[in-house]
């Protein structure tokens, strides 16, 4: 049942510290190999860039930990941001209200996902695959696949900073920390972990499994919307490509960060930060290194593979434990 087992100590160390080690080495490599990588300006830039990804990956991480998957996050981000931008452009809605519209829309879309998964009992992958196309379709229709630029004053918000830090970094950090607290220190968060461990056991214990899953999707949708808002602010407009591929990035971040796709396991803060940082480092580093911009995808894909292999190795040992546990 197990894939080939390397010596126990090596694999134990690798599986626990593998990714941080790799990340650290990659970071060092780029710092040394290029001139501008290890500068405050660049690091600030990287953090700025990462912010939407962090927000969305954090939301995705929570869904994954409940044992489900949401690949509609990119489309939710797109549609929510579109609604907000259109509201501002066509109806003169003010920015704060528009923000609320985006968040509400995201929550609603998340609720649709939740309803399909919980009430229609459709596999989460397929359900969110379906809503992914649907939501994107609606957004493209509404925006006519064109650019929806933000009003002048709002656009300036995109580069607002509080002291040395960009606002969106602060937002992302706040979201990440808050979500981590929710995960570790609230009843909801613990119930999510319980459901991720085993829906059957959680249900036997009296945990309202369906409600937990539903609320999780709603939260994910709202946060995806927030991520969409951040991206829009950075770009200055809603483009037809907003969020495209974002869902895969989010899942990649989650996987590379070490959260198991089986659910019930993982440290949100650490994993999302690690995963996002990994991809951002690779991207920026390759950029500065002068490598072909498309090599990023190649490397990214390879990284996911490696992470999966590491997870499979880990599972080889831990997975058995879980089974044994269930048989008492």
């Amino acid at each position: 049942m197990n894939p080939a087992k390397p010596p126990l100590i090596v694999s134990a160390v690798l599986s626990r510290y593998g990714f941080p080690i790799v990340l650290a080495s990659v970071f060092v490599f780029f710092s040394v190999a290029t001139r501008s990588f290890l500068t405050l300006a660049n690091l600030d830039d990287m953090a700025h860039d990462m912010s939407p990804l962090i927000v969305i990956s954090a939301a995705e991480a929570l869904v994954v930990m409940s044992g489900k998957l949401d690949i509609s996050v990119g489309s939710v981000a797109f549609l929510s941001a579109s609604l907000a931008s259109l509201a501002m452009r066509d109806y003169g809605v003010d920015p704060i209200a528009a923000l609320l519209i985006a968040l509400a829309a995201g929550g609603l879309l998340g609720a649709v996902n939740g309803a399909i998964v919980v009430a229609l009992r459709v596999n989460a992958l397929i359900a969110t695959l379906g809503t992914m196309i649907m939501f994107r379709g609606v957004a493209l229709e509404l925006t006519d696949a064109g650019l929806v630029p933000l009003p002048e004053k709002v656009r300036l918000l995109g580069n607002l900073s509080i002291g040395p830090l960009f606002v969106d970094i602060v937002v992302a950090a706040v979201v990440l920390i808050t979500l981590d607290v929710v995960h570790r220190r609230t009843r909801f968060g613990r119930q999510i972990m319980a459901v991720g461990n085993s829906e059957a056991v959680a249900s036997d214990l009296g945990i309202p499994v369906r409600s937990v899953i539903f609320r999780n999707f709603v939260l994910c949708g709202a946060l995806a919307a927030l991520g969409g808002v951040l991206t829009t602010l950075q770009v200055g407009a809603v483009t037809a490509y907003l969020g495209s591929g974002l869902e895969f990035n989010a899942v990649a971040v989650v996987v590379v960060g070490g959260i198991s796709l089986f659910g019930g396991r993982g440290n949100l803060l650490y994993s999302v930060a690690l995963g996002a940082l990994t991809f951002e480092t690779i991207r920026t580093g390759l950029n500065y290194y002068g490598a072909n911009p498309y090599s990023y995808r190649l490397v990214g894909g390879a990284v996911i593979f490696i992470a999966m292999y590491a997870d499979a190795l880990k599972r080889g040992r831990l997975g058995q434990n879980r089974n044994v546990l269930m048989r008492g």
């Binding site: 049942m1 894939p3 044992g67 489900k68 998957l69 399909i116 998964v117 229609l120 009992r121 459709v122 596999n123 989460a124 992958l125 397929i126 359900a127 695959l129 379906g130 809503t131 992914m132 196309i133 649907m134 939501f135 994107r136 379709g137 609606v138 957004a139 493209l140 229709e141 696949a145 085993s198 829906e199 059957a200 056991v201 036997d204 591929g245 895969f248 899942v251 990649a252 996987v255 796709l261 089986f262 659910g263 072909n292 498309y294 090599s295 995808r297 190649l298 490397v299 990214g300 894909g301 390879a302 996911i304 593979f305 999966m308 997870d311 499979a312 599972r315 080889g316 997975g319 269930m326």
Partner: protein
């Protein structure tokens, strides 16, 4: 692949842990049916009715608003268009019957087409070029197969990673430019219409027959169904699970390779754009509509083809009726969710 854990079986499809209330053995002394085992006819009925309804609706609307649809020329074109999706759906059906999924097929197709085209641009030999495309497809499929079957990785993520890598490599190789300059003979042969039937359609028919034969009349085919239905029982029944599963992914890869050949001929070029994100959706939809269960163990090759036909016609029909492309996306989303919901509601979900 730890069957109970292929991604299609998680995220809502987890075979639920043995509930705390096992049926007493005495209850096994059933006379007649099992509690809860779906009769095949029930599932077929629900889907068939849904498909028939939607299909008639679309045809009706077409007859009313876009009768040009039914011109022979157009119909033939529809068939050619369908062939791409149909062949991909056939490949996907192998994987889905075994209980997995392959998201990398369109990217695989693009990559294989690009590799073959790059060769043909220089080497001028369409036969070798086609062979390269097909071998490339099978190789990427094998990569997926080994990772899922032997390394026990999750199909969703493995094929996601493969897709990312293939797309990236594709863009890199082509520099985002279409590869043109393919030898004329390439297009001449593949776009021919012997007896009025395009080669693409003939190929589809041939592959459907091949796939059906493989699934219904070969040992591996039966083994694949067994794995999709009940992996534990398959293991006891001496089915070589790893080998069969890996091969299902190779089959998917092969179909991607064949599609690459046909599509490159049709477009007279190859580009990284050949397999965009939307195609995966269409493939899954085609299979789902065609009666192939995402939970595994059920479905036929010709179902996938019929599903592809359905999807293509509905897409085209919507297009002709002036429904914007984007709205048609909404319809597609509803279709896929609806069919899988029907799947689940008729008791097939574990």
């Amino acid at each position: 692949m730890i069957r109970t854990w292929t991604l299609l079986r998680m995220n809502g499809l987890l075979k639920s842990h043995p509930s705390a209330v096992p049926l007493p053995d005495a209850a096994l002394d059933g006379r007649g049916g099992d509690v809860g085992a779906p009769s095949l006819s029930r599932i077929v009925d629900a889907r068939l009715i849904a498909s028939a309804l939607v299909f008639s609706l679309v045809l009706g609307l077409l007859a009313a608003f876009a009768p040009s649809f039914f011109r022979l020329n157009n119909l033939v074109n529809i068939l050619v268009q369908t062939s791409t999706l149909a062949i991909l759906a056939i490949g996907m059906s192998f994987v889905m019957i075994g209980g997995g999924i392959d998201l990398s097929m369109p990217a695989n197709m693009a990559m294989s087409a690009v590799l073959g085209a790059l060769y043909m641009r220089v080497g001028h030999d369409p036969v070798t070029g086609s062979a390269i495309m097909i071998v490339s497809g099978a190789t990427i499929g094998a990569l997926n197969g080994v990772a899922v079957a032997y390394l026990r990785m999750i199909p969703f993520v493995v094929t996601l990673a493969t897709m990312t890598v293939a797309k990236g490599a594709c863009i890199w190789l082509t520099n985002s430019v279409s590869i043109a300059g393919l030898p004329e003979s390439f297009g001449d042969v593949l776009l021919a219409r012997p007896l009025g039937i395009p080669v693409a359609v003939l190929a589809t028919i041939a592959l459907t027959l091949l796939a059906s034969t493989a699934l219904s009349f070969t040992v591996i085919g039966r083994w694949l169904y067994a794995i999709g239905v009940n992996e534990r029982a398959a293991r006891v029944a001496r089915v070589p699970i790893e080998r069969v599963t890996a091969m299902s992914y190779v089959a998917a890869g092969l179909s991607a390779g064949v599609t690459a050949v046909l599509l490159a001929a049709r477009l007279d070029s190859a580009s990284a754009n050949m397999g965009n994100d939307g195609v995966v959706l269409d493939i899954v939809s085609a299979c789902v509509v065609g009666g192939i269960s995402i939970y595994g163990g059920i479905g036929r090759a010709y179902g996938a083809v019929l599903g592809a036909l359905f999807i293509t016609i509905v897409s085209n029909g919507l297009n002709l009726m002036g429904v914007s492309f984007y709205l048609s996306l909404i319809v597609k989303g509803i279709v896929i969710i609806g069919y899988v919901a029907l799947d689940g509601l008729s008791g097939k979900a574990p």
